[in-house]
Symmetry: C2
Subunit: 144 residues, 2 copies
DNA sequence: TTGTCATATCATGATATTGTGATATGTTAA
DNA sequence: TTAACATATCACAATATCATGATATGACAA
């Protein structure tokens, strides 16, 4: 539950922060506009300071790459409803076992799902709520 | 501002819903467990009903694929700080113009950035807050 | 006009990712 | 043991994606 609590707090904090930022932006939009947009060097320097470094972009893109495949998304979608074993995933999605197993390996390697052995079965679940959030916000975006 | 308001309401609603769900799950975990996990056909049927259909997974995976490239993520990261023209993006990221322009085309085609012509310049910005949210939650996940 | 600057498009070789058949591992039951 | 089942790994042909050089477009200034 700690991960979940942490996640919620952070997300709400973030939303609040963005709301604040956007509001300020709307208020003093007009006078800032010209000054800011004319000196490109300033803009570039200012913005460069605030972005993460190279490695983090590489890591993050590897992470998002995982969401860029329909089979993996289907698995994520299923696991966001309920924890499932491999054979149930195969059946629910009508996919062959090799395909599912392969994609689960990729999902595991990228810390998106975890699993628990129960006899000869393996029960898979999502690692944490970030995954569910990202999936859900993405879905919200394309349905808009 | 309507998009933003809509987004925030939805996200918070979703977080509340998940909190509720998880809590209920914890409460009657033990008696449900066996019943649910033994009849796999039930599980499969139940879960199949609740997932989106084929096309939506394809569309969603195309959308997420865009986040799976460090150059595009860098651009998204920049634009989450401030709207920028193409040459500023090139300079801030030390990338050649063709690369940036190509990636902007992909971002545009996938409704992730929008732009506004100002003379011979094009000022780019993120389409909406979903993009910022997904980027931010992803970053939070890998930094955990 | 003509030149220059900001940006966009096209074509392409190098590289990465996909689903799947063949096969291996590991667990339970007979 | 042996067989059956659930899952994992390996290898590979088909396909997709990347960054970039060459080139085009379109706006402004001279």
């Amino acid at each position: 539950m700690t991960t979940f609590k942490y996640m919620v707090d952070n997300t709400i904090d973030y939303i609040m922060y963005v709301m604040e930022m956007k509001k300020n932006n709307l208020e003093n939009n007009n006078e800032d506009m010209c000054e800011v947009f004319n000196s490109h060097d300033d803009v570039v320097d200012r913005v460069k300071e605030r972005i993460p470094d190279e490695n983090e972009f590489d890591e993050l893109s590897e992470f998002f790459k995982i969401f860029g495949n329909p089979t993996r998304l289907k698995i994520i979608s299923l696991l966001s409803i309920e924890d499932l074993c491999v054979c149930d995933i195969c059946e629910a999605l009508d996919l062959n076992q090799t395909t599912v197993s392969n994609q689960l390996r990729i999902l595991r390697a990228n810390n998106i799902v975890k699993y628990q052995k129960e006899g000869k079965m393996a029960r898979y679940s999502l690692t944490d709520l970030h995954i569910e959030m990202i999936y859900k916000v993405g879905l919200e975006h394309i349905l808009e």
